[in-house]
Subunit: 242 residues, 2 copies
Amino acid sequence: MTYCVGLKIDCGLVFMSDTRTNAGVDNVSTFRKMYTWTNPGERVVVLLAAGNLATTQAVVSLLNERTKAPSERVQSVLETQSMFQTACLIGDTVKEVVNLSVPAGQKADAFGASFILGGQIKGMEPRLFLIYPEGNFIESGEDTPFFQIGETKYGKPILIRAYDPKMRFAETVKLLLLSFDSTLKSNLSVGLPLDLLYYERDSFKIGYQRRMGVDDPYLRTISTGWSDALKSAFRSLPDFQE
Amino acid sequence: MTYCVGLKIDCGLVFMSDTRTNAGVDNVSTFRKMYTWTNPGERVVVLLAAGNLATTQAVVSLLNERTKAPSERVQSVLETQSMFQTACLIGDTVKEVVNLSVPAGQKADAFGASFILGGQIKGMEPRLFLIYPEGNFIESGEDTPFFQIGETKYGKPILIRAYDPKMRFAETVKLLLLSFDSTLKSNLSVGLPLDLLYYERDSFKIGYQRRMGVDDPYLRTISTGWSDALKSAFRSLPDFQE
């Protein structure tokens, strides 16, 4: 499967994705699921992908090609007038790829892919979108400031409870790692290493990027420390009285 | 959907189940999913049910009828020689009901139901089983001391992290409520009230039973207290250093 999260905080956007792809548990590979396009000083676009790898790679390859050789017919992600138009463009590319992939008369479900899109264009606010396999999309709001794709369930409770828009980047990484750690522990089809990316509001460049593998000291600190912290939290609540 | 957990601790077995059933989000009802059969001083049998309500109710009705009017042909759950035989009996009843329900040539998936079975018969150990929609089953072991059915994902991380076989009943209720609270917050098809049951090892009677609704003071304490405790636990871990 896959697990990716895009999260909006007051100071910017934070993205995390795993790297495991699988066709059955006996056929496992490592692929990056985080893609970026930047025009430094003017725009940053970040895309996280889940679902059929052939579809997501084709979408990204088309987006890449059109960035390098922009045609009049199709805009590139570096030319769109707004992040909304960027989401439209990517949604259209998803539909294009799925239409080409699906044999006549068959259902498109097996070719499905979903995406988290985030970024900012100069003069506008940072924005975060969830693009569905059908190519349509929704935007995050104050009530729902993050999107998850792939194996979303195990890691959701901690996101709901501990998220605060005032969090700094350093705290947000901690929160995301806890969400990923819960998922890694429960679903074999989500796997290390993890890709982390921070976009700082109004910076129009990629702020921080890192790949965290099994040897990453901070990942290990959080994973082991959380068990103890959780047990203390558990003990701090009153026991049931019959 | 449904969420049920059966959990084995050194001092006995603890069961918790929600009560929401639904056919779409616009058709919601409350049904008890926890059933018991006891022969005080000799055996206690507890069954939790998830899946197609017509199937689970038919299984329980058949088990009940055969308890009241035991025939030579089919044993009752109060007559089996072991908990393993009880699990076989319930598995056979599941197959019987599904075979009767499924129109010829159609798939049985829509009629599927899964069960958690726990209990103890005098002279033997307490045992816990997970019965699949196909009627076959597995038994808990030291490595996997609990079973979940229904919406299992949201509530699993806390069970994995905080479970300890040495927990007392009062702590186990706390753990189960945290697991249920995470699930209730994330999936509308799991709903209050919750049913709680404790079977104390070698007691051969139901130890404690309670229904916990939205007004239950302990449930409210845990639900609100956990957010704060979790935030403290979160703060206690070191922030990420770039």
